[in-house]
């Protein structure tokens, strides 16, 4: 078998890292960093997701074809987010989203 078997040690190391990062994400949220709160929360979440994908889901040891599919999936998701936001964030500030007023109740 050419299948790569990830050792138990690596699984427990990744598990420990995920636990630590979970505490970090909670602890950071208790402090007000302004706009950085979102950035930090997302950075921690993305780090955890990457650890899970690479090691728990074995993508690091998968075929190139699998890797391309995974990367393409997240790339397409980024197209959704970037194009949608480039629309909404260039609209006049008064318009709300989907019938819920932004702040002034103009709709």
């Amino acid at each position: 078998m050419s299948e790569h078997i990830v050792s138990k040690t690596i699984y427990f190391l990744i598990f420990g890292a995920l636990m630590v990062l979970t505490v970090v994400t909670y602890w950071v949220a208790l402090y007000d960093f302004g706009a950085m709160n979102v950035v930090i929360a997302l950075a921690v979440a993305v780090t955890k997701a990457v650890l899970v994908v690479l090691y728990f889901m074995h993508v690091r040891y998968s075929t190139r074809l699998t890797k391309i599919v995974v990367i393409a999936g997240f790339f397409w998701l980024s197209i959704l987010v970037v194009l949608t936001l480039s629309d909404y964030f260039t609209r006049p500030a008064t318009s709300g989203v989907g019938g819920v007023p932004a702040s002034t109740g103009t709709r």
């Binding site: 078998m1 050419s2 299948e3 078997i5 990830v6 050792s7 138990k8 699984y11 427990f12 598990f15 995920l18 636990m19 979970t22 994400t25 909670y26 949220a29 208790l30 402090y31 007000d32 302004g34 706009a35 709160n37 979102v38 929360a41 997302l42 921690v44 979440a45 955890k48 997701a49 899970v52 994908v53 090691y55 728990f56 889901m57 074995h58 998968s62 075929t63 074809l65 699998t66 599919v69 995974v70 999936g73 997240f74 397409w76 998701l77 959704l80 987010v81 949608t84 936001l85 909404y88 964030f89 500030a93 989203v97 989907g98 819920v100 007023p101 932004a102 702040s103 002034t104 109740g105």
Partner: protein
Amino acid sequence: MAEAVHSTTEHPASAHAALQHHFENMEQQREAGTLGMWIFLVTEIMFFGGMFMAYILYRSYNADAFAAASNALNVKMGFANTIVLICSSLTMALAVYYSQVGKRMMIVVMLILTMILGTTFLVVKAFEYYDKYEKNEIPGRLFPSRPFKWGEAGHGSPAKEPARDGSTERNPQSVQTGQEQKPDTNLASRVEMFFFIYFAMTGLHALHMVIGLGMLIVLTIMAWRNRFSPEYHSPVELGGLYWHFVDIVWIFLFPLLYLLGAHGVSGGGH
């Protein structure tokens, strides 16, 4: 097997019983299965991605209401559930490991542990949902006797959460650059939107957990009947991929839903 390359409709008797006729060998079959599972998971990324997109938009327009509503969620339960799910991911990964090295009893034990942890998650989630029901925080009028309410004395009002840094709390409305100061009805409808998104996302996630638990039952029975071996364990491997994906969704949901206002409502301006 290399000599028999193009007579693939029949495998020699020495081939593994689980080898399907359209694959050359077990390795090709396993890799094809992994690829197919990932293509399915990519569609799941898009499925949840649309909801995350809705979340991003509504939150960017209603940061104050989302922070206030986020404080009404039970952070302790959310945190505990995050820990529970990460533990279940570890036991699932270990189940895959033991299937690769061919330890039947350990596969069964790890799969059962994973099921126990997954069930724990759902039970905690059920308590959270019931709490929302009791506090009239189910959006819309799903329960006619308990229509959505927000900002009344006793619960859920943004003023209930004290600012932890001791600074004087700002009125969430003043964070907005609104020309006219609208009263609570506006805030309530925007908070309700948070709860729509909260229930849609956590509900869809919980549905995936339920499906995952059903899958784990099947895998446990298969493992018990000794269907897996180091040569053939793709079902455990692919089930693991699904379970870890559901875990990843929660890894994003926890900070995005529960921790928005943890540092005090005054931080609602991001």
